[in-house]
Each structure stands twice: as C-alpha cells, then as structure tokens.
Amino acid sequence: MTDVSLQDVWKRYDDGVLAVEDLSLRVEDGEFLVVVGPSGCGKSTTLRLIAGLETVSEGTIRMGDRDVTDVEPKDRNVAMVFQNYALYPHMSARRNITFGMRSAGSFSDEEVTQRVEDAADLLDIADLLDRKPAALSGGERQRVALGRAIVRDPDVFLLDEPLSNLDAKLRIRMRSELAKLHDRLRTTTVYVTHDQTEAMTLGDRVVVMNDGEIQQIDPPQRLYDYPENRFVAEFVGDPAMNTFPVRVEERAQPATDGAGRYVATHAGVDLPLPDAGGLAAAAGDEALLGIRPEDLHLPPDPDVGSFTAAVTVTEPLGDSLLLECRIGEDEFRAAVSPRSTIEPGDTVELAPDPARLHLFDAGSGEALYHSAEGARDAEPSGIPDPDRLA
C-alpha cells in the first residue's frame, strides 16, 4: 500500500510527439483514482510512466518514500491489467496467474498455491483455472487477468481500460465487481478509461486529461457540478452540457424579483444570473453559458428567465425524454420528464434551474462562475420544483 506521486512529468517521444506535459499528480494510499479523457490525451502514457514501461523525459515519480523514476518496472512492485488481458494463450489460467510469480517475489510453493486459491475464490474463477484462455469468455479472461494482478500483492494496481473489450451488460457487472474488490483489498489503484460513466462510478477522485495536460482532479460529483473549464464541462455528463455564447450585462435597474444584478443575454433572451463569485469580473464581456440538459425544465407557467424554443427531434430514453431544440441558430438539448407529450415541431417553453448555471471564458474556456456556489449560501430560490408538482 503506497501513495504515488508524479511531479512535473513530461514525456516526449523520439518522433517529437509530446504525450504528457508538465503533469503533477498525487494518488493517495488506498485511493481508486480514475484517469479519463478522449483518445490520445495521454492517459495511457501516464499509466505506463507509473509502471515504468516508458521513461520520463523530465520530472520525477515517487512511490511511498522511494524515488522510482529510474527504477525498472519489475522493481516497482506494481501489477498491470491490460485492455486485451495479455494472457499467454498456450498456458492454463492457473499457469498464467502464477507465471512470473517466483521471479517477482520470493514466494514459496505453498504460498503460491494459497494465493492462487484465495484470488480464485475472490474472483469466482476457481473452476476455470485449468482452462486455456481460448476456452474462456471475455469476462472470465478479464477476471484471470485481475487474478494475476492480485496474487502478486503489489503496492499499486494499474488498469488500462480493462473493461473496454467487454459487452455493455458485462461491463456494468464488472464495474461493480471492481468496486467491491477495491473495498476488500484497498490497494492503491490507478484506472485509465475513455468512458466517463466508468470514471464517475468507480473513482474516489477523477483526473480529466486532454492533450497531455490535466484539466481537473476532483471527486466525481464535484467534477460534475463545478467543472473548472469548458472541456471538463462538456466531457463529463451524458448527454453533454449545452453551451451558448452570451453577453454578461449588469441590469439597468436594481432587481425587483430578488434574482440578482446580472443577466446573460443571447439572441434576445435574458437569463438572470444569481449572485455568486466571478460575475463582477465577467460583466460587460462575452462568455459561454453552460447549462446541462437535465437542468432545463418545462415550467408550469411562463417565468422570468424562461425562453421559447422549437423542438426538432425527440429521443425517448425511458427515464427521460431528450429534446433537441433550436433557438435561432443555436441547437441544444433538454432532458424533460419521460411522459411529456411533446412532438418534433412543437414549440416549448423552457426554464433553466438558476442554481445550475455556469459561465466560461469565451477564449480560454476557464470557468468564471457557477451559480450553485451562490445558491449554496443563499435562501432557496422561488422556482418551483418540477418533481413535486401533481
């Protein structure tokens, strides 16, 4: 059990590609850290740097109190699970699990057998141990690969998109199995994925990466509610957050409805912005307004701060109805109650939840304002809760 820290790590490949840029990261002892991002963002490279399969161009990596920057992979006491499981096809599952064990540590024969049995029971693969990988299903192979990592009792587990090759249902099942496994073993784990749902459900904290740089590190809910920049806002959450170019204006007259001093204007629509940090600095400028689809409601009666939009497509998801809407030139999505009787071509009145608005800098994408920060400290707003309506 150790913590892992990367300080000012850069990774430049021989052909000049900059995979990881000035990355600093700390994984706490026993934490399940997920690194997520689109293809090519540097997440797998980061994992391989921790494993020692790649060498850093600059920077240091520490595990516990050891500097492991120049230490060989075999001496780092890490275990890795690969996306394609990396099982030796000519060996039985048992031999796959134990191959390399005697080299990696000084385990006696009885210890080895005992560990294999324990891991097999934990992963429910005890009766599969004598089969070859070709005779195992994808999920079973995945568990054998996990078993191989577990028996070594490493300081750190490194998992590189381990669920990507499984079908959807199996993936969901394995996700909860991984979570339970982590609860049992509490080994420091770094988990790489491109799937933001996996990231949100598994991580104690989630690292969002893009273009070799860390965008944000936070627990999942915080990442969702307070994204630090536009990239994180649009990456986390499915369906993705809507963004509109707006202008932040100070109200000409003092507010009479208690909704705050500033509005965001766009295409003739004025959206009141509840008071919270960052508004004064953003006033008078262009910005990007972010609202998540599920934070757009059908208000019971026309409201200040609601607007009209034309519905172009409806997507019934079962637990919600996804509307693709249009105001002028802008298209956006709203997720409303699944049993609403809205058809494509209808016009709808939509109101955003004022406690769930975000502003981002129009140029850099940095987050300027989250209305929830103000709402946290303020009185409950006067907007009725749609879920409580009869």
Binding site: M80, F82, Y88, G100, S103
Partner: protein
C-alpha cells in the same frame, strides 16, 4: 524434391479430398464443366511435374535402365535387387546416414542461432540495430556457391577439411530463418512482453516459456524447409569431403554412376539412388505440410 512441387501436390490432394467430400453431401454444388476443367488442368500440371520422378521410380526397377522406347517404361522386376545392391552392397545407407546427421545438426543449429538473433532484433534496443538487421539480410546474397572458394581456403587452413564439422558449421547461420522468426515475433502482442517485463521474467525464460511455445507452427515449418535445404546440399560436401565414409547422399549418387559392368552408366542404379535420396524429405514435407503452409502465410494481427 522441391518445396514448390510439394506445395502443388499438397494443394491437389486437398482439393480432391474436398471435392470427393462434397459429393457425399446432398447440398453440395454439382460438379459443373468449369470445375471439371479445373481439376483436369490441375491433374495435368501435377502429372507433368511428377513425371520425372515417376520415370525415375520405374527405371529404378529395371536391370540397366536404358530407355529408348516408350515400351521401356514398363516397370521391371529388379526393384529388390537394385535397392538392396545400392543400400547394402554399395553402402548407400552410409551416405544417407551422413546426410541425415548433417541435416539434423544443421537444423538444430540454425534454430538455436536464429531464435536468439530474432529475439535480440525484436526485443532489444541497441545502436545500429537496423544496420545489423540489413546486414543479416544482406547475407542472403551470399549462398554457398558464391562463397565456397574462400570458405574452402578457411576450412582447410584450419585443418578441418573432410570433417563433420566442415559440412555442418558453415550452414548454421540462416538469414531466412531469422527473418521468418522476426516477422512472427513482431506479431506477438506487445502487452504479453510488457506483462513479462513487469514480472521480472528474463529474456531467455521468456524465449523458452513464451516465444517458442507460441511459435510452434512456424518453427516446425522452418525446420522442414531447412532440413530439405541441408539434405539437398551438393556443392559444398563435394568440395570439402574426400572420404567415402563421410560423404553425403547427394554426392554419393554420382558414385553409383560407374557401377555398370559394361562401362555404361548404370541408370537403374542412379535412379535407385535418386529415389532413395528423395524419400526422407518427401516424408517430412507430407507429414508437416500444414505447419509449412502456416509458415508461408503472412500473419496479420
């Protein structure tokens, strides 16, 4: 006996087997004119290719083997006499044994050296690696006939002329095998190598426990090719071996030529020797034709 000939034979055998098989199944395609034409064409090609061997086999059963008319191509009754005479009286068994030993040693040596070379070329980083690999491939331009003069000098200067060493060691390196094994190793997923690296599995253990078992088909195929190549060697053994007791079958064949009592060439004996020489590689190629075809296939993973 050449590999292409065997490939054609093998393909014909497979095709006829599947054609026969399809006649049993009610849902089989009926043999239409085009198929029959193709089969006839293949049969004709096979017959043409095999004809010399057939003639050799027939002549080996005759007394003197002089063929002047087509009627002379009927099988004679001297098969037993000829074969016994060649093998025992004339000591052809000794030549075949020498060929066998030489070929086996060469195959084993080639495999060992090429496995290690391919391992290093694929899994290690060292300066000028590409230049080294190019150099190895370059040796393909230097087959035995090109280099046997300086090689003769070298071997006799070392006092190793006319030894078993001399007919085996010059063949031990093989650029072809290195190339084939390299391509095969490259098709093995990198994650398997990385898993081994994380586990402190050394290169030799990785070679023996992972690479070799995973290359079984290719290794068998390569071994067969190399065995046939070694078995067929004529020029170098001719040049470097003086004593009959060490001579190999290909060269020993020429010794059978002067065995006719009338001073003419005893073609029947020569053909007997030829058929005898042909049998071991033929047997191997037939037995191992599946791994062999696997070796020829370009694997894409």
């Amino acid at each position: 006996m050449s590999a292409p000939l065997l490939a054609v034979l093998s393909a014909a055998v497979d095709r006829s087997r599947s054609a026969l098989g399809s006649l049993d199944r009610p849902t089989a395609r009926r043999l239409d004119g085009e198929q029959i034409g193709l089969h006839l064409l293949t049969a004709a090609a096979v017959f043409l290719l095999v004809l010399p061997v057939l003639i050799a086999a027939i002549v080996s059963t005759k007394r003197t083997g002089i063929v002047t008319t087509v009627g002379d191509l009927l099988p004679g009754g001297y098969a037993q006499t000829n074969y016994r005479r060649a093998l025992i009286t004339l000591g052809f068994w000794r030549f075949m044994l020498n060929s066998l030993l030489m070929s086996v040693v060469i195959v084993v040596g080639k495999l060992l050296i090429s496995l290690l070379a391919a391992l290093v070329i694929v899994y290690y980083r060292f300066p000028y690696k590409n230049a080294v690999f190019m150099f190895v491939l370059f040796t393909l331009l230097l087959p035995v006939p090109v280099r046997f003069v300086p090689l003769y000098r070298l071997v006799t200067d070392l006092g190793l002329g006319n030894t078993f060493f001399a007919i085996t060691v010059p063949y031990l390196a093989s650029a072809t095998t290195v190339f084939i094994l390299r391509q095969h190793f490259l098709s093995i997923p990198a994650s398997l190598v990385e898993t081994a690296k994380l586990d402190d599995v050394g290169p030799l253990r990785f070679l023996v426990s992972v690479l070799i078992p995973m290359s079984r088909g290719v290794l068998v195929g390569v071994s067969v090719i190399m065995f046939v190549y070694a078995w067929n060697q004529y020029l170098w053994p001719l040049v470097i071996v003086n004593s009959e007791s060490l001579q190999v079958a290909q060269v020993g064949l020429s010794l059978l030529r002067g065995q006719a009592s009338t001073g003419e060439v005893a073609w029947s004996m020569v053909m007997t020797g030829s058929i005898l020489t042909l049998i071991p590689p033929l047997a191997l190629l037939v037995l191992f034709r599946r791994p062999l075809l696997e070796t020829f296939t370009i694997q894409q993973k």
